[in-house]
Amino acid sequence: MARSIWKGPFVDAYVLKKAEAAREANRNEVIKIWSRRSTILPQFVGLTFGVYNGQKHVPVNVTEDMIGQKFGEYSPTRTYYGHAADKKAKRK
C-alpha cells in the first residue's frame, strides 16, 4: 500500500542535514549515507550520494528522474555471478 500523502515523503533527518551542508559548501563530494529507506527529494538533484549497500558506499548521482524513489533502489545489495552449472555447460 502506498504511503499517505498527508505525511509527506519520508527522509531520515541526517540525510537532509548532510545534503543541506553540501549544498551550502558547494563542494561536489560524495555524501556518505546509510539510509537506503529515504526518499529522493527534488532538492537532492545534482548531488552525489554514497549509498551503503551493506559492504560499501555506492556513488549515486541524483538526476531529476530519480525523484520520489528511494536511495536503496540505486545501490544493489546482492552480487550474482551465475550458477556453477551454467559455467560448466559453457566450457564444453
Binding site: 528522474d65 540505486y74 544493489p76
Partner: protein, 122 residues
C-alpha cells in the same frame, strides 16, 4: 468495415466488445467511449452510421492512447528505468520479475522455458 485507430476492423460484434480489439482499450475504456459518444452498448458495429464511427474515432484520438503510441510509451518507460540504473531497471535488463516475486521456482513468464541443468537429480 469500420476502421478505427489505424488497423482495426472488428464488425458484427457489439460495439464495446469490438472496440476491445484495439490495443489499449479494455472493458472499462470501451464502456466509457460508448457512453461518451452516446451509442447503446447493445448495438453492433455494422449498424453504426458513418457519423457515429467518426465520433468514436475522434473521441479515441482526443482522449485515449492506443496502439503504436501506447506501445511506444510503454517501451520508453521501460527504457527509462533501464537507463536509470535503479533496481527495477536492473531486473528488466536481466529479464527477471520486477515486482519482487520469487525466482527460486516459477517466474517462467519472464525467464522463458526452463533450461535443463546438467548433472542435477538425486
Amino acid at each position: 468495415m469500420a476502421r478505427i485507430a489505424g488497423v482495426n476492423i472488428p464488425t458484427a460484434k457489439r460495439v464495446p466488445i469490438a472496440l476491445q480489439y484495439i490495443h489499449g482499450i479494455g472493458p472499462a475504456v470501451a464502456d466509457k467511449i460508448c457512453e461518451a459518444v452516446k451509442i447503446d452498448a447493445t448495438r453492433r458495429v455494422n449498424e453504426l452510421s458513418d457519423a457515429e464511427v467518426l465520433a468514436i474515432r475522434e473521441y479515441i484520438d482526443a482522449n485515449v492512447t492506443v496502439e503504436g503510441d501506447l506501445r511506444r510509451e510503454v517501451t520508453m518507460n521501460i527504457k527509462r528505468l533501464m537507463d536509470l540504473g535503479c533496481y527495477r531497471g536492473l531486473r528488466h535488463r536481466r529479464n527477471l520479475p520486477v515486482r519482487g516475486q520469487r525466482t527460486h521456482t516459477n517466474a517462467r513468464t519472464r525467464k522463458g522455458p526452463a533450461k535443463a541443468i546438467a548433472g542435477k537429480k538425486k
